[in-house]
Subunit: 371 residues, 2 copies
């Protein structure tokens, strides 16, 4: 994998990420395709919207369809029919969300499947091997996603274990086609985060992620840690803020020098009828849209906004039609894709700060009226 910074605007960076299966400019957002599919859209539509890098998940793919099926299919790209770039989260977040179904040791983490209760064991080595064998373009190392709240002592031990696991992960690498990203943990404790950064940047990862945020902490904590960590990561490597976030969060993080994002928000919200527009969030089930025959976002050029009214989208939502999921997801992923495109354009032209302020002014003002 290659990464190149094309332009800087303050701390914000315009970059180009190249891999075996294509390239993407950064800052970029990765649509979430947990099980090897972005819920509601075909790959054709994902491409039409302009995405060339999507996210999937080791925990989920490991359970279904399993390593053997994916390997025999000729790898993950071949199995899911997506020829663009794929990044997989290690499954750390999922495993650590299992609570009592999970048992952590120095060696790795034992867990029970959320599907059938069967017992499994992930080690850092296994996750790297899985990612290499299925052939993802970027693999995340297995980390402990430190919960919030956590005591200082717990966060420290957890961070140190994540570092030891990161070192173990690198030792078993064997494929040049799968880039590996390390993950910074440390909870909301600034010194732990800085310590983790100091150690992890010594390790030869192709990129570095900020993990353990967006796990229930107050938004100020998320902002504080992002602002602290991002500028301290290596200048010449991509920086990925995991699981984040709202348009506001993304704009803030880009300003701190973050390059990559993923979040279920645009896709999950689409399924729940919450739609992002340039004038704020819209709750499409609201009765005020019953006879609103205007497009969802008059500034949007997506298939949904070009062809359908709020009244029709509301009708599909209240009638529980599956097409509600499709049309809403097309729009929300288009909105996120366009947001990233405008961010990149603004950085290229050295006006990111102005863009951010103008976007947020409009987005927040609209949200007061419409949601």
């Amino acid at each position: 994998m290659e990464y190149k910074i094309l332009k800087k605007d303050g701390k914000a960076r315009l970059g180009l990420l190249k891999g075996k299966h294509g390239e993407t400019e950064t800052p970029c957002f990765m649509p979430v395709g947990t099980l090897g599919a972005v819920k509601g859209l075909t790959w054709k539509e994902i491409k039409e919207i302009g995405y060339s890098l999507v996210l999937s998940n080791v925990y989920h793919l490991y359970l279904r369809p399993g390593l053997e099926v994916i390997k025999e299919a000729g790898g993950i790209h071949s199995f899911i029919g997506w020829d663009g770039l794929i990044l997989t989260d290690s499954g750390g977040f999922q495993v650590f969300s299992l609570g009592s179904l999970m048992k952590l040791t120095e060696e790795g983490v034992e867990f029970r499947s959320h599907i059938d209760g069967s017992k499994h064991f992930f080690t850092p080595e296994f996750v790297v091997k899985f990612e290499e064998e299925v052939g993802v373009d970027i693999g995340m190392v297995l980390d402990e996603c430190t919960p919030y709240p956590a005591t200082y002592e717990y966060a420290r031990e957890s961070m140190e274990r994540t570092l030891r696991w990161a070192r173990r992960s690198l030792k078993v690498r064997s494929s040049p086609d799968t880039a590996l990203f390390g993950i910074v943990q440390g909870g909301v404790y600034e010194d732990l985060r800085l310590k983790c950064v100091e150690e992890i940047v010594k390790l030869p990862f192709e990129g570095y992620a900020i993990g353990g945020l967006s796990v229930g902490e107050p938004k100020e904590e998320m902002f504080k840690i992002t602002a602290l960590v991002a500028p301290n990561l290596p200048e010449d490597k991509p920086r990925y803020l995991m699981g984040v976030g709202t348009p506001e969060d993304i704009l803030f993080a880009v300003e701190q020098g973050v390059d990559m994002f993923d979040c279920v928000m645009p896709t999950r919200n689409a399924r729940n009828g919450t739609l992002f527009t340039s004038y704020g969030k819209v709750n499409i089930k609201a009765s005020r849209y019953k006879k609103d025959f205007s497009p969802l976002d008059p500034e949007c050029q997506c298939y949904t906004c070009r062809n359908f009214s709020k009244a029709y989208l509301r009708h599909l939502y209240v009638s529980k039609e599956v097409n509600s999921v499709i049309l809403n997801t097309i729009h929300n992923l288009h909105f996120y894709g366009k947001l990233m495109e405008k961010i990149r354009e603004a950085i290229r032209e050295g006006r990111f700060k102005e863009f951010k302020e103008e976007f947020l002014r409009k987005f927040k003002r609209g949200s007061q009226f419409f949601s």
Copy 2:
């Protein structure tokens, strides 16, 4: 609406149906878009597959979103964002499926909404007005869909009422843009069916439908009535066999001179994981497909078959991913669309009978092996 026979091959007919919103060659299959959406596909995809006429339903549209919303949107085409042809079933089938929630009188039919239990009343006049006001291209008159089994006496009374309703329907017509189709009833009684045909063809409908089949009667009864009724309908008007059916049923009916079909089968089966292929039906959840990396139907050129394996389709189905609905529906509607295209081609070339036999031989032989 205009209808023209282009070619005959035995009793089978190749025709061209033209309306304000486009045209379609017949024999044709109409995808079912009950609530103003074909579950799982966008209109763009429906068009790409090659459909230019879809079916919707007065009963469902009347309840949700309601006449007022559709009228204020500027009509059904504008509301649902489909600029092709639309035929609406009157809702007779739906209302008469409500059982105890329905009360039939000479004037019309009282029913309770399946959604909220609210009381409503449909008359033949109301249904025609609804269809004209929302602006469908072809409206079906309100009929009583005679249940199966029914006594001779019941079927006779029901058929006679359907005739009286058909006459009342014609009296209130006022829009040249909405063609009206009459419906032949009479249960499985041949003399009642013939009597109904005799009377209904005296009425100036733009097309004639065979109703009350595919309601639970043995398949031989369906074949018998279709073979009896279809050839006795006016030569120069389209003939529509409502709610039918399987590929076999369609081939049989085309041979008897039927031109139009609708059925939930391709779309509903897609959602249940049953897929139609040139070598028979495939139950995609079967474990034998776990590592079957070949396409669903090697002869099929649909998006699904060109890009995905049976193993991936199975993975999506067992994982309950919404993309399973999308990819399966694309395939099944493509299969039905192609079947109709091949049927038309065969009629054009005067080899319908051979085509039918060859298709069925392959389809049935495959079904033994694969389903």
